[in-house]
């Protein structure tokens, strides 16, 4: 099977969805780049290159560069979604929720319910997340919890290229507003990705590893740190269920609960600040629904409770690292 990067996989999904369905459009800042300029068009294809090639293939009517105007971008996507299109809007960085959040949580998320099921809002909001780029406090945040908490939104956070393609194709097909969270750190990672179109269902966790000593749930990029630790532990004979929910809303509670019922021990890892994050959420679900099976405290491994600092050493200290994950795991395993 061909090997593709996370970037290529999402790009391919967008290409295929646009080819198949003429109501799919892409809009956002720099989604092609070069609008109004003297040089070449499609100069960026998205600042991360994810939408590269869409403009030449589908034209300006369907690949729409916008001014810097996030509220209008998301609002326009929501309005278009209600009136016959399937927009894929891009927010360059998830950190920019703040300049358009009303259109996300008060508008797009609520239309279907608030209007008694008579409106549909089939749209995707792509946004990048994640620290590690030394991009500072306003371009490094993982705010997945801010959308996960909103009823009406679905939230997807793929951790590999294969999942990214299948989940993107599902997101575009889906009739609700889907927030598609791309971890910038993952764009150049690759794995086998079929050329054909395929979808992956929402709300179905993926087991990266299976084991019996511990359950580890991780969201976005930290999953890869978890895997490194899990493999190290495996060499010591400690085996873990390593679960990637893939979508935080809907959440595959069942997979997590079943695993904890077997292992009795849970560590949850994300790269959000610690208060009210996904780690808290999953922990609380397990503390409510699988309490009887729990044999140790549930440990959360998250980023620190501070804005993301610029200095590389501080940013590294801010992010959850393999050593943090490992020591949390060992604590939980050793608990009697």
């Amino acid at each position: 099977m061909p090997v593709k990067t996370y970037r290529e996989a999402i790009n391919e999904a967008l290409h295929q969805a646009m080819r198949e369905d003429s109501t799919v459009i892409v809009l956002g800042e720099e989604v092609s780049g070069g609008a109004g300029c003297d040089g070449s068009r499609d100069a960026y294809g998205g600042v991360m290159g994810v939408t590269k090639g869409l403009l030449p293939a589908y034209g300006e009517a369907r690949v729409i560069d916008t001014p810097i105007t996030e509220s209008a971008i998301i609002g326009a996507a929501a309005g278009a979604a209600q009136t016959g299109l399937r927009p894929v809007a891009e927010l360059m960085f998830m950190d920019f929720f703040g300049v358009c959040f009303d259109q996300i949580y008060n508008q797009a998320a609520k239309f279907h319910y608030m209007f008694g099921g008579k409106a549909q809002c089939p749209m995707v909001i792509r946004c990048t997340t994640g620290a590690g780029w030394r991009a500072g406090a306003q371009h490094s945040q993982n705010l997945t919890q801010m959308v996960t908490m909103v009823p009406g939104l679905k939230v997807v956070c793929p951790t590999n290229a294969y999942d990214a393609k299948g989940l993107m194709l599902q997101a575009i097909k889906d009739n609700d507003c889907v927030i598609f969270v791309e971890d910038k750190i993952l764009y150049d990672t690759s794995c086998e990705v079929p050329d054909e179109m395929y979808t992956l269902p929402f709300g179905e966790a993926k087991f990266y590893r299976e084991g019996s000593d511990l359950t580890i749930v991780a969201i976005s990029n930290p999953m890869h740190k978890v895997l490194a630790v899990a493999d190290k532990l495996a060499a010591e004979g400690i085996t873990c269920d390593v679960i990637d929910p893939r979508t935080t809303s809907p959440l595959d509670e069942e997979a997590i609960l079943e695993s904890v019922e077997m292992t009795g021990r849970l560590v949850v890892v994300d790269e959000m600040t610690p208060r009210c994050g996904i780690a808290s959420d999953i922990s609380s679900i397990v503390a409510e629904k699988a309490f009887r099976s729990l044999r140790a405290p549930i440990r959360k491994v998250t980023a620190a409770h501070s804005p993301v600092p610029f200095a590389p050493n501080l940013e590294d200290a801010w992010m959850p690292q393999e050593s943090d994950i490992e020591s949390a795991i060992r604590d939980v395993l050793e608990y009697v």
Partner: protein, 338 residues
């Protein structure tokens, strides 16, 4: 129409261009709105309506005049003060009343209420309780029209107050950049809650501020159905011709409080009384149409009568209808089930 952005536009003529059939339609729409608002005000006082009401009374000529020019598949998006837009766009008054009374059979199954009333079959994309929430969304509806190659237009109603919200400006700029068939219709009733537009709109002039965004902008007396119609006719034609967005600022009186129950201490003495006496669009439209022999007074009387009956019927039906089943709570959070 000139697109010279340095001149505020007036419609080419405000001579009578409405024919009698259209006038009757508009009159019926205006009368229905007025009667509807009066009735729900009364029902609210009786405790039959939960939540908050913002009535459209006094502004009827704007919704009615514009919507004469729209088809069912054109789009409008509204504000917290949305009943008039909804009625003018053709929504079923019975289903509206049920919605506002939170009953089964309401337009939104009782989940929306006055501030979120919508009728997607009539292209009415919803009242919106976030000031400035609508304009970005109508840009999307206009984008659909352009992308799908229909000749539909999208109209975002907004108040003078909403004209100060950043989302409104962003929507205007994006509509210009993408040359979309969008109309930004600001009903300047002088007030955003208890703050006057002459204070809150720094430029004092919504139309010229909109014009600065690079689109033609009209100012029109929103109490004059004929003028509203003619202005909107030009604006809608401009949009349908693919020439991009238009702004209209219509000055109107607000007969009621910001919300039902508002003591309105901020208004001048006798201000409302005078407005109701001198600026009632229904009275003026009727007088002119009869005087110019466009229609007969008795035709209008008949409409008044029919409307009164309709409103009675709607009220009875809504009062009699059951509340939504509790089991509806978690229905329609998502389109698809998980």
């Amino acid at each position: 129409m000139s697109t010279d952005t340095n001149t505020l536009l007036k419609p080419k003529s405000t001579e009578q261009v409405l024919d009698s059939e259209q006038f009757l339609k508009a009159y019926r729409s205006m009368r229905t709105i007025r009667a509807f608002e009066d009735r729900i005000s009364e029902q609210f006082m009786k405790g039959n309506i939960p939540g908050f009401l913002h009535l459209y009374s006094g502004q009827e000529a704007v919704a009615a005049g514009l919507c004469l020019l729209l088809n069912d598949d054109d789009y409008v998006i509204s504000t917290h003060r949305g009943h008039g837009h909804c009625i003018a766009k053709g929504a079923d008054v019975v289903a509206m009343m049920k919605e506002i009374m939170a009953k089964q059979g309401g337009l939104c199954d009782g989940k929306g209420g006055s501030m979120h009333i919508a009728d997607f079959d009539k292209g009415m994309l919803g009242a919106n309780a976030i000031v400035g929430g609508g304009p970005p969304i109508i840009v999307g509806a206009a984008l659909s029209a352009k992308t799908l190659g229909t000749d539909r237009v999208g109209v975002a109603f907004g108040g003078d107050g909403s004209s100060n919200q950043g989302t409104t400006f962003e929507a205007m700029n994006l509509a210009v950049v993408l040359k979309l068939p969008a109309i930004f219709l600001f009903e300047n009733n002088g007030y955003g809650e208890g703050t006057h537009a002459r204070y809150a709109v720094g430029s004092k002039d919504i139309a010229s501020r909109a014009q600065g965004f690079g689109m033609p902008a009209y100012q029109v007396d929103g109490t004059d159905l004929f003028a509203v119609y003619e202005t909107c006719r030009e604006a809608v034609a401009h949009c349908r011709a693919g020439k991009g967005p238009v702004t209209i600022e219509a000055t109107v009186p607000r007969f009621k409080g910001h919300f039902e129950g508002d003591p309105q201490a901020y208004r001048g003495e006798k201000e409302v009384e005078t407005l109701m006496k001198e600026q009632d669009c229904l009275v003026m439209a009727r007088a002119r149409a009869v005087k110019e022999k466009l229609v007969k007074a008795k035709d209008l009387d008949r409409i008044d009568q029919e409307v009164a009956e309709l409103i009675d019927e709607a009220t009875q039906a809504a009062l009699a209808a059951p509340a939504p089943e509790d089991s509806e709570l978690l229905k329609n959070v998502y389109s698809s089930d998980y």
